[in-house]
């Protein structure tokens, strides 16, 4: 559970330390409100929602704080270019491409994709986590996968 929450936060902020920080904040908050746990219907979905919101908030302040994320990406590419064998370079480049494509997706699609592919959640779980309807989950996932397919097919040819 902790790892899944962490992965969701990490998926949003893309920073190990920040994600762990967010998770710690969430757990501390949860701990301080132990008596309210019984009032929360689905604690797991509640936690996912909370960490999603916290991570998005953090991401907003992070982009204000530091704007070197794109630079770092470029650096990675540069590094790969000169030191790794060709196949590794291609893999890394594809990874960066996928990541960038994901990041450009609307928030709902991005999170749906992540929760489905990485966390292996059912449509119902995702709809509870993101507080959207199951239909919207399916639509979002469909659009995200379609985008990925287009990207990969285009890259392969």
């Amino acid at each position: 559970m902790k790892d899944r929450l962490f992965r969701l936060a990490y998926g949003i902020v893309r920073d190990q330390e920040e994600a762990e920080d967010i998770l710690q904040d969430l757990l501390l908050k949860l701990w301080s409100r132990k008596e309210e746990w019984s009032d929360i219907g689905n604690l797991e979905a509640y936690c996912f929602r909370a960490i999603k919101n916290m991570a998005l908030d953090r991401l907003a302040t992070m982009t204000v704080r530091k704007t070197d994320s794109i630079e770092r990406e470029k650096e990675d590419l540069y590094f790969v270019d000169h030191q790794s064998p060709h196949s590794e370079m291609v893999v890394k480049e594809q990874r960066i491409l996928i990541e960038r494509c994901l990041r450009e997706l609307p928030e709902n699609q991005q999170l749906t994709f992540r929760l489905r592919e990485v966390e292996g959640m059912s449509y119902r779980e995702i709809s509870e986590t993101l507080a959207i309807s199951e239909d919207l989950v399916k639509i979002s996932l469909f659009r995200a996968r379609k985008k990925m397919k287009e990207l990969l097919a285009g890259y392969g040819s």
């Binding site: 790892d3 701990w31 990874r95 489905r116």
Partner: protein, 210 residues
């Protein structure tokens, strides 16, 4: 194995793109795409499944639980430390406003009292004592005045005793004034004379010639 599964994978993949696969089927796809010698037709999609697999392996760093524990203890300690303040927080607000009101009231009271008060305040209960003290104060004052008057009279007497000829002094002053006035007039006249003297001489000469 690949040849046998080709059609199956194709179908799975198609269903995957249209979001009809179940979670277990998606896992099957991920497993299939993780094999190293993938047929070329599926090669383009391998990075996607590789990416999700990689993302699945992301986990918390080892020290996280330890840090969380510490933070929780700190939080607990912090709660204890400020628990009294937290309980009295609403009361503190009331107390602060009360203090403000009382302070304002006191300052206003003093300011108004200061303005209304007469400068002289009756401090004596016994009129006789008041008269006595007043007389004493007045006597002190008149005594002081008297001494200064005497002192000035004494000075005048001393000056009289010096027997100065005042009229002489006055005339001296007047003379001095006259003198300065005279000298001014004289210098002005001198300048005029020097101007005229040349013409005067030439006139004289002419008269003689004639």
């Amino acid at each position: 194995m690949a040849a046998k599964n080709d059609g199956y994978i194709d179908i799975l993949l198609e269903r995957y793109w249209s979001c009809e696969t179940t979670l277990s089927e998606e896992q099957e796809l991920r497993d299939f795409f993780s094999q190293s010698n993938l047929p070329a037709a599926w090669q383009p999609y391998a990075p996607l499944f590789a990416y999700t697999r990689e993302e699945q392996s992301v986990s918390l760093s080892e020290g996280f639980d330890e840090r969380l524990k510490k933070a929780m203890e700190k939080e607990k300690a912090g709660n204890k430390e400020y628990i009294t303040i937290r309980i009295f927080a609403p009361l503190l607000r009331v107390a602060a406003s009360l203090l403000l009101i009382v302070g304002l009231g006191i300052s206003i009271f003093f300011i108004t009292r200061q303005n209304n008060n007469p400068w002289f305040v009756e401090t004596y209960d016994d009129p006789n004592a008041a008269i006595k003290d007043a007389t004493y104060a007045l006597e002190k004052l008149s005594h002081a005045l008297q001494t200064t008057e005497e002192a000035s009279l004494e000075t005048i007497r001393v000056i009289d005793d010096l027997d100065i000829d005042w009229s002489a002094l006055d005339s001296l002053m007047a003379e001095d004034e006259e003198l300065t006035a005279d000298s001014l007039a004289a210098t002005a006249q001198e300048k005029k004379d020097t101007l005229h003297i040349g013409t005067f001489i030439s006139n004289n000469k002419k008269e003689k010639e004639i």
